[in-house]
Structures are given as structure tokens and as C-alpha cells.
């Protein structure tokens, strides 16, 4: 094995000629719009599709005839696609693309809801939005852990392991102490343990960071699975019955329809997650620490020349990332379920996908995580109303979206320049 530094292959310039990246996206959106107008509309039943603002069929609702809705919103998607294809000014691009995609999704929903069995042909928006946030939470924490690491130039493929170790140690020490806060701190330490290994081996011993991440995931699966079978399974009362954080409702704000119950009646992890997005965003782009972190991630040599201690900053950020991911893992075991073997089950990799899809920025990661959480929640909903769409294909969506994003079909995705390259002084 020799030291490899593979630069990106010479890529055919995508912006050449008529087929700019925007136009390609427009083409895709036009195709989606056509699909919605033709297929969804014909398949939709001429029944009312109701989107209730409550958790059940009762109460206020947005109502539209299935066929009409599918056609109307399909037309929105089609119009947006054609507009982009026709050469829309770039500053409108994101807005129109977003509107088109929303139109496509709503058209799809009109079709699905209108064809659901009688008595089930409604979509409780409160549940959907709330479920989206709950499912997105571990992704948000995981993706933020990725942001902290990768912005300072250390690839973090070990998110899965950090989440898992956090979930495990949160459950174990929460149970042993019977104290929520001990559990929370233990979860952060658990995640930090994995990221400490990542930091030491990647920074001190210059082991390839992707390799290390993969191996650490397996190590975390092994250690937690082993201790689960040895301790938690024989004696769950002692080792696996951590107390759980209850929901904290914020008065007034939680009364807001649909968004209120989702955003202002969650548990501590929801507030912490959203707060962290804000803090890391401000930290990264408005503080001295953030400037140094970004410079170390882009050009460590230059940063070093200016007196930034590259390795120390990397150590600090990687450890911080582990703590964040560890708390994300605890959002399972200290709020929802008791610990089970390999309970993260690939969420760490979806978080990685959210990080990449969100272009290595905290807010982008948040939006991507919410999108993936929505896809997840939609899969649950569709299988509940006996939809013909297999839930497995919806489950693939985050991964396929990421592949498309990385392949340059949806915007430009670029990692920090020094991401994954160990820094050797001298």
C-alpha cells in the first residue's frame, strides 16, 4: 500500500453550452411534473383527499378532490419545470425548484390519500410533521457531528458508531444511576470515546479516516452488542431501564396549528438539536473558532502559518462531534425505547447522507435531515393506509437522493478541501 492522493478525475465541465446544471434540474422536474399530471391524476380517485390539522379525522381540514388535486399540483410541478427549462434567472432557481418539488409531492399525496380505504382517506398533518421531527432528530445530531469533524478536515464515517455508543452508555448509566442527567452526560462521553479513537488514530497515527470510521462502527456494534447480551439481556431491570425525558410543552407556542405540537411540545432532545444547529451555524460562520475551523478544513498549511494549532483544533472538534452524536444516540434510549442490539440500524449513514446532501453546512444538514425524516414518516403512513407504493422504495430515497447530489445532478456538492487528509507539520 502506498500513500495515495487521488484528486478528482478530470470532469467534463457541466456548465458547458445549453445544458447547464439548472436546465438539467428543470428537465428532471418537467419529467416529474408530466408523471404527476398523467399518471397520478389517472390513478387518483375522485374522492375527497383530506389533510386534517389534528391527529385524527375530526377537526379542521384542508380538503380537495383527489383527481383535481393531483392534476393541479402536478401542473404546478410541470410549470416550474418548464419555467426553469426556459431559462429562468438563476436567483429564482431555488425558489421555483422548491415550489415544483412541493407540488410534485402534494400531487402524489392527493393520489395516495384519495385512493386510501374509506375511513382512512385523510392525512393527519400533526402526526406527519411531528413524526418527521422525531425521526429526523438522530439524523440532525449525527449530521452536526459530521459538520464539526469534516469542516476541520477529519472525515467522520463513524457517526453510526458514535450514535450507537451514545445510545448504549446513555441507557446503561441512566439505568444504573436512575438519573436522566447522568445518562445524558454518559451518552456524550460514550460518543466521545469513539471519536477519541477516531481522533487519535486519524491525527496521531495517520490511519486513513474512512478506514478508521468503518472499523470503529464495527467496533461499536461489537462492544455494545457484546455488553448488551452479557449485561442488559439477563438483567434488564438493572441495566436497561433508563428513565425517560418527558415532553415539555411551551405554553402558547405549542398551540400553533400543525407546527406547534411538532416544534414546541417535544422533549429536551428536540430543543437541544435545534439549538445546536443554530449555535454551530453561528459558531462556524461568525466566530473566531469557526473561521479557524473552516480554514483548517480547507487549507491547514496556511492556517498553521498564521498560528492556528491545526492538530489541537482538530482534536477538539472531533471530540466535540462525538459528544454531539452521543447525545443524539441518547435521544433514543433516554426518550423513546430501551436499548436493543444495533438499534441505530444505519441512521448514522443516513446522517452522513444528510451531511453531504446539506453540503457540509449546519442549516443544510438540518433541512436534509428533515427531508429524510419526512420520507421515513411518509413510508410509515403509506404502509398504514395499505398503499401500493412499497415502503422499501421510500426508504431508499435518502440514499438515492445523495447519489444524485454527489453526481452533480442536484446542485454542486463539494467537501472541504482538506477533508480526510491528515496534516503533517513541516
Amino acid at each position: 500500500m502506498s500513500t495515495m492522493a487521488v484528486d478528482d478525475v478530470a470532469v467534463a465541465p457541466v456548465n458547458a453550452g445549453f445544458w447547464t446544471r439548472n436546465r438539467k434540474a428543470g428537465l428532471v422536474l418537467t419529467a416529474l411534473g408530466l408523471l404527476a399530471v398523467s399518471l397520478f391524476t389517472t390513478l387518483a380517485a375522485s374522492e375527497p383527499a383530506r389533510f386534517t390539522l389534528s391527529e385524527d379525522a375530526s377537526g379542521a381540514a384542508l380538503k380537495i378532490n383527489g383527481t383535481v388535486g393531483a392534476a393541479l399540483f402536478g401542473a404546478v410541478a410541470l410549470a416550474a419545470g418548464v419555467a426553469i427549462l426556459a431559462g429562468l434567472p438563476t436567483r429564482w432557481f431555488t425558489l421555483v425548484l422548491g415550489a415544483g418539488l412541493v407540488g410534485f409531492v402534494v400531487s402524489f399525496l392527493c393520489w395516495q390519500v384519495s385512493t386510501a380505504p374509506t375511513g382512512q382517506n385523510f392525512m393527519p398533518l400533526v402526526n406527519i410533521v411531528r413524526g418527521t421531527f422525531i425521526l429526523a432528530l438522530p439524523l440532525i445530531f449525527g449530521a452536526l457531528a459530521g459538520v464539526l469533524c469534516e469542516r476541520s478536515g477529519v472525515v467522520n464515517v463513524a457517526i453510526e458508531g458514535q450514535l450507537l455508543m451514545g445510545a448504549f452508555s446513555g441507557a446503561l448509566f441512566g439505568s444504573l444511576s436512575g438519573n436522566l442527567w447522568v445518562g445524558l452526560v454518559a451518552a456524550a462521553i460514550g460518543g466521545t470515546f469513539i471519536s477519541l479513537l477516531l481522533a487519535v488514530f486519524a491525527i496521531r497515527y495517520l490511519v486513513d479516516q474512512v478506514v478508521m470510521g468503518i472499523v470503529l462502527n464495527l467496533l461499536a456494534v461489537g462492544i455494545t452488542g457484546f455488553l448488551y447480551e452479557r449485561l442488559m439481556q439477563p438483567d434488564p431491570a438493572k441495566y436497561n431501564s433508563a428513565p425517560r425525558f418527558s415532553d415539555w410543552e411551551i405554553p402558547l407556542l405549542s398551540e400553533i396549528p400543525v407546527l406547534g405540537p411538532a416544534l414546541f411540545a417535544g422533549n429536551i432532545f428536540l430543543y437541544l438539536g435545534l439549538l445546536l444547529v443554530l449555535v454551530i451555524h453561528i459558531g462556524l460562520f461568525r466566530t473566531r473558532w469557526g473561521l479557524r475551523t473552516r480554514s483548517v478544513g480547507e487549507h491547514p498549511t496556511a492556517a498553521d502559518t498564521l498560528g492556528v494549532r491545526v492538530l489541537r483544533l482538530r482534536y477538539r472538534n472531533v471530540l466535540l462531534a462525538g459528544a454531539v452524536a452521543g447525545i443524539g444516540g441518547a435521544s433514543y434510549t433516554l426518550a423513546l425505547f430501551s436499548f436493543t442490539k444495533n438499534m441505530i440500524g444505519g441512521k448514522g449513514f443516513i446522517a452522513l447522507a444528510a451531511l453531504i446532501f446539506g453540503r457540509w453546512s449546519p442549516t443544510g444538514a438540518l433541512l436534509a435531515a428533515l427531508f429524510f425524516g419526512f420520507a421515513d414518516q411518509l413510508a410509515t403512513y403509506l404502509s398504514a393506509i395499505n398503499s401500493t407504493i412499497p415502503s422499501q422504495f421510500l426508504a431508499m430515497l435518502p440514499y438515492l437522493a445523495t447519489i444524485l447530489a454527489v453526481a452533480g445532478l442536484v446542485g454542486r456538492v463539494r467537501a472541504p478541501a482538506a477533508d480526510g487528509k491528515p496534516y503533517i507539520k513541516g
Binding site: 500500500m1 502506498s2 500513500t3 495515495m4 492522493a5 487521488v6 484528486d7 478528482d8 478525475v9 478530470a10 470532469v11 467534463a12 469534516e150 472525515v155 464515517v157 479513537l197 488514530f201 497515527y205 495517520l206 490511519v207 486513513d208 479516516q209 474512512v210 478506514v211 478508521m212 468503518i214 472499523v215 470503529l216 464495527l218 467496533l219 461489537g222 462492544i223 452488542g225 457484546f226 455488553l227 447480551e229 452479557r230 442490539k341 444505519g346 449513514f349 452522513l352 453531504i356 412499497p390 422499501q392 422504495f393 426508504a395 431508499m396 440514499y399 438515492l400 445523495t402 447519489i403 454527489v406 453526481a407 452533480g408 467537501a415 482538506a418 477533508d419 480526510g420 487528509k421 491528515p422
Partner: protein
Amino acid sequence: MTNAESGSPDKEPATADQAARMALDNTERAEPTSQQPPERPALGRLFVENLWAANTFTVTLLSLLLAMVVGGILMIVSDPDVLGTYSYFTARPGDALNASWTLVSEAYANLFKGAVLDPDAVGLTAALSPISETLTYTAPLVFTGLSVALAFRGGLFNIGAQGQATMGVIAAGLAGFLLPLPAGLHLLVAVFAGAVGGALWGFIPGILKARTGAHEVINTIMLNYVAAYFLVWLIVQNGVQDPNRTDAISRPVDASAQLPRLFGDNLRAHTGIILAVLVTWAVAWLLNRSTLGFELRAVGSNPAASRTAGISVTRTYVLVMVFAGALAGLGGSQMVLGTTAAALTPLVVAQVGFDGILVALLGRVKPWGVLLAALLFGALQAGGNRMQSYSGVSLELVTVLQALIVIFIAAPALVKAIFQLRAARAARPQTSLAKGW
């Protein structure tokens, strides 16, 4: 002085021992009568010295040892009875040490008995059983390990062996129970289908890398999950699902498409391991003797220079990933054509793809090294089963051991520091690679 013995003249004596020998040398030179050349160190001594140098073999062996020590500690801290004896450690340390030793030594003894040889076994079948189990677990790992190693030599990190193996399982399984073919031909077609399925799944990240520069690590990770969900979906479709079952399991593969057993019907070892050895040889030949292999290695070590030299980097990337995918697909096909279950289930692929990454790293991404590493991992898994049923030590310990071994061999500097090894005589290639997104 000429310093004839202790290497290059600009070096300080590395050890006190060498310094002493140099001093001795000097005094000998001072004697005008002694003209014979300085005495050569004995062969045995040379061997021992070399053994304690940080060469690949020693580092691997010590990594295994370190991993087993950590595994032992895990066993002790997770056993309440043994841990209890530590509460009065200062009063009677013997109790704690004895209990710990019994626990750990029994577990590892069972690991050995399950993987290599059980001295108490009666009869040929029982005696061969551990080896048979080891070979059964080894066969698919050789393929996935070679897949990762081949891509690595071409400068690509194939984390997608798991997904490629999954597609291989699907294709091989479908060919195994859907195609009505005569015996012999059926097996060939099923194995080939597995390779094609994997190759297809390797082609996607390959072409994306070549055409758009999309990083193969990201794409292969994502494709792993796409393949996994596809398998879960496919199993419950009409014509695939076992009509007599309600759970997610496919129809069984026809007997004509199953790999023949090596040691009779009672032992699971199948001809896949022979195929594995042949393919290892083929990959070694491909890498070291063929034009494609040369181009592949050239692109792997310096794509820019290769392009200048007229090698098509994009073509090489695509080919590397197709070959890697085919290898992983072959590994996947072993999981459904070779084992006792012989049907598709959501967990039919197990972890062969991810384990393949570890196997490739442990085998130093060389074909024959991969074969040996797969043998070690196969042995650990086979022995782990016995350790679980006889000593009650969870099979997960094997995962921990495997991960730790690779962590230690990936950081030879750490092992060197722990055991105070001398640097090996020839400068060993670095195990660390610098490669970002």
C-alpha cells in the same frame, strides 16, 4: 573505524547491544594479530532479532494478541460473578485472578476448538467439523476481501462490497430457483449470475466516479443500503417468496444449483473454498502479470501520471469497479448457493461485505494476504459460535476482536510503541493512506 557490521556509517548504534558489539569490534581491530572477519551472528539469533522487528508478520501477531487481551478484559468486566471477586481483591487477589483466568482461558480454548481442532472429538466427521466450519465462513470473505483489495490497488475505496454481495446473492438466488436448468450447467449459471449482479452494482459507482467525479466512498455506502432495501422488497414478491411461508423467506435454491459439499453431507464446507483459491490466484495474476493489472496499479498510485502516460483513467476506474463488484457478487452467491439455508432472507448476506473491508486491510491488500486474512476471520467466526454455545460468551466478541485486530494493524506505530519493537530492516510500506472525499 569502518563500522562494517552495524549498517550505514552515519547511524548511531541502535541498541546497547549493538554498541557493545561495536566496542568489541574495536578492541578486536586493535589487536594486530586477529585478522579474521568479525564473527557473524548465529542464525537463531538473527531469526529472533528479525522476529522482534516490526515486520508485517510480527505486527499482525501482536495485534491479534492485543485484541485478545482487550477481549479478555471485556469478558471479565461483563461477568458479574467474576467482577464480584474483585471487590475483595486486596484481601485475596488469588480468587479474582483465578476466576478471571478460568473465564478467559476457557472462552479462548473453545474459540480454538471450534475453529481448528477439538482434541476430545470422536470420529472423523467430528474431527473435521471445526475445519469445515472455518472453511465455510472463509469462502465468501475471500471474495469480498479480494473485491476491496483489488479496488484499493486501483486507487478506489470500495465500501460497497456489502451492496455488491447483496446484488450477487439476489441474482444467484433468483437464477438458482427460477431457471429450470440441468445439474452442472445450473450451478455455473447461478454462480455467473451472482458475479454479474455484483458487477452491475460495482459499475454504477465506477461510471459515476469516471464521468462526474462523484466520490466512490459516498456512492458505495449509499448503494449498500439501496441494495439491502431492494432485497427486502424482492423477497416478499410473488414468485420469489416461499409459497408455504408467511415470513420473509424466498423459495429454496434447487439442489442442482447448490455448490457440492467437500467432506460429505454432514459437514458444511463446500467447493466455494476451492473456487476462492483459484480466484485468488487469478486476481494475483491479474494484478501482477497482466497489462490491465499494471494500468490498474499505475492509476492507483498516481492517476495524473498515468493519464500523461496514456492510460485511460476513466476506463480503468470503471473496469476496476466492475471487477471488484463481480468478486463481491461471487462472494455473495456463496451465501445462498453454499450454506444450509439456501434461500434468500433479509439477513442472508450477513456482514460479508463489511468484513471484506477488514479482511482486505488485514491482508495488506495483496491477494494471497487476503486469503490468509479471510482464513483467520473465518476461523474466528467458526470458533465464536462454539464459544457462544459452550462458554456463553456472546458471538459479538468476535466482531470486537476483528475490529481491534484491524485497528492495531492499521496503526503499526502504536503496536511498535507498545511492544518497543525495532524498526524493520527494510522500510515497510505505510499502512496509512491519505485520501479524502
